[in-house]
C-alpha cells in the first residue's frame, strides 16, 4: 500500500462539525453506483422498485453529505 494512502484516507474519513462529509459522500456514492448498476444494467437481478428508488436515494444522500454545511434546514 502506498505510504501516502493511509493519511489521505484518515483525512477523508473525518469531518468536523460544519465541514463537508467527504468520506460519507464517497461511501454513499460507491454504494449508489453498485446498487444502480445492479438495478438498471443487470437484467438478471430483476430489480424491484425498492432497489431502484434505493439507489437513487443513496445518490441523493451522497450529495447531501458532500454539501452538508449548506444543508437546507437549520438547527
Amino acid at each position: 500500500m502506498a505510504p501516502w494512502l493511509l493519511p489521505l484516507a484518515g483525512k477523508l474519513g473525518y469531518a468536523g462539525k460544519n465541514e463537508p462529509v467527504v468520506g460519507g459522500a464517497l461511501v454513499f456514492f460507491v454504494a449508489a453506483a453498485g446498487v444502480l448498476y445492479l438495478s438498471f444494467v443487470r437484467d438478471e437481478m430483476d430489480a424491484g422498485p425498492v432497489m431502484k428508488i434505493g439507489g437513487l436515494l443513496l445518490l441523493g444522500m451522497a450529495l447531501l453529505a458532500f454539501f452538508w454545511p449548506m444543508r437546507p434546514w437549520p438547527h
Binding site: 493511509l6 493519511p7 484516507a9 484518515g10 474519513g13 473525518y14 469531518a15 468536523g16 462539525k17 462529509v21 468520506g23 460519507g24 461511501v27 454513499f28 460507491v30 454504494a31 453498485g34 446498487v35 445492479l38 443487470r42 438478471e44 437481478m45 430483476d46 425498492v50 443513496l58 444522500m61 447531501l64 453529505a65 452538508w68 444543508r71 434546514w73 438547527h75
Partner: protein, 296 residues
C-alpha cells in the same frame, strides 16, 4: 365378477386416533399457542409503546404521571427540543454512512467468500472455513484494546473507516451465504460454464441474482447490527461531530440529571429506520431466513 369393497373392514381396532382439523383439541391447541405468542409479543412491544407514549408527555409530567400510560395532553415538544438542542441530524447522517458502507461491503465480500467456500475447489478450503467460523467464538470485547492501538497506529481513530473496517466481512454473513450457495445445484454452474461464463461471470450473472432473498436478510441483519453498534464507536471516537446516533443518545444522559422525555424521543427516532428497513424487506427477509436456516 369380483367386487372390491371395504364395507366389512373394521378400522376402529384401538389404534392411535388422528386428530382432525376443526376438532376441539385443535382449537384449544391453537388458542394456547396464540396466547403464548400474544404474551411474548406484548413483552417485546410494550416497552417500545411505553417509550413512544412517554415521549409525548411534557418533561415535567413524566414522573408525576408515570402510572398514566396514555398522556392526557400529548405534545411533540420533546422531539422538537432534542432535534434543536443536539446535532441529531449529523448523528443520523453518521449512522447512515456507517450502516450503508458496512452493509454494501459486507454483502459484496460475504457473497464472494461464501461462493468460494461453497462452490470453490482450492487447497486449504476447510482450514479457511474453520478459521472463519473460529472468529465467531471470539468475543469482540477481547480484541477491543489491540484494535484501538492498531487504529491509532494507522492514525484512523476518529474516522468512519475505523468503525467500518471492523464490521465489514463479518464471519456470520460468510457462513450464511455459504449455506445458501450450498443449496444451489452444481448443474446451474456447469450450464453457465458451457455457455462460456467465467467464474466471476457465474458469480455476477447466476449466483448473485439467485441469492437475492439471502442478500436481503443479510442486509437487514447487518443494518440492524451496525445501526445499534455502541461500544466500539464509543471507544474509537472522541469528537461529538463523528458520533453515530446510538453513541450520541447514550451521552445525552447526564451524571446528575437527564432529560428523559428528550431521550425517549431520540430513542423513538433511532428505532424508525430499523422498522422501515424490516418492513421494506419483510417478504424477502423471511424467504432468506427460510432458505439459509439463519436466525436473528
Amino acid at each position: 365378477m369380483t367386487t372390491l369393497s371395504t364395507d366389512e373392514l373394521d378400522f376402529g381396532d384401538g389404534g392411535p386416533e388422528v386428530q382432525h382439523e376443526g376438532s376441539w383439541y385443535d382449537t384449544v391447541a391453537k388458542a394456547v399457542a396464540h396466547l403464548v405468542l400474544l404474551f411474548f409479543s406484548a413483552v417485546m412491544t410494550i416497552p417500545f409503546v411505553w417509550a413512544f407514549l412517554t415521549s409525548l408527555k411534557p418533561e415535567n409530567k413524566i414522573f408525576t404521571t408515570i402510572r398514566q400510560i396514555i398522556p392526557a395532553d400529548p405534545t411533540f415538544a420533546n422531539y422538537v427540543n432534542v432535534w434543536m438542542q443536539n446535532p441529531l441530524d449529523r448523528w443520523i447522517l453518521n449512522s447512515l454512512v456507517l450502516a450503508v458502507g458496512v452493509v454494501f461491503f459486507t454483502l459484496l465480500l460475504d457473497t464472494l467468500a461464501g461462493y468460494a467456500l461453497a462452490k470453490g475447489d482450492f487447497k486449504g478450503k476447510s482450514l479457511v472455513y474453520t478459521l472463519v467460523i473460529g472468529t465467531l467464538v471470539i468475543p469482540p470485547q477481547v480484541v477491543l484494546v489491540p484494535l484501538y492501538l492498531e487504529m491509532n497506529a494507522l492514525n484512523w481513530s476518529n474516522t468512519y473507516w475505523a468503525i467500518m473496517v471492523l464490521y465489514i466481512a463479518n464471519p456470520f454473513g460468510t457462513f450464511m451465504m455459504r449455506q445458501f450457495f450450498l443449496g444451489i445445484p452444481d448443474s446451474l454452474i456447469e450450464a453457465a460454464r458451457m455457455d462460456g461464463c467465467s467464474t466471476f461471470q457465474i458469480y455476477t450473472r447466476v449466483m448473485l441474482p439467485l441469492a437475492k432473498p439471502a442478500l436481503s436478510s443479510l442486509g437487514v441483519f447487518t443494518f440492524i447490527f451496525v445501526w445499534g453498534a455502541f461500544l466500539w464507536p464509543l471507544v474509537i471516537l472522541n469528537d461529538s461531530s463523528m458520533y453515530p446516533l446510538q453513541v450520541g443518545i447514550g451521552l445525552l444522559t447526564g451524571r446528575y440529571s437527564s432529560q428523559w422525555g428528550q431521550l425517549l424521543a431520540a430513542v423513538v427516532i433511532a428505532a424508525l429506520p430499523v422498522i422501515a428497513a424490516y418492513l421494506l424487506a419483510q417478504r424477502t427477509f423471511m424467504e432468506g431466513i427460510a432458505l439459509t436456516g439463519g436466525k436473528g
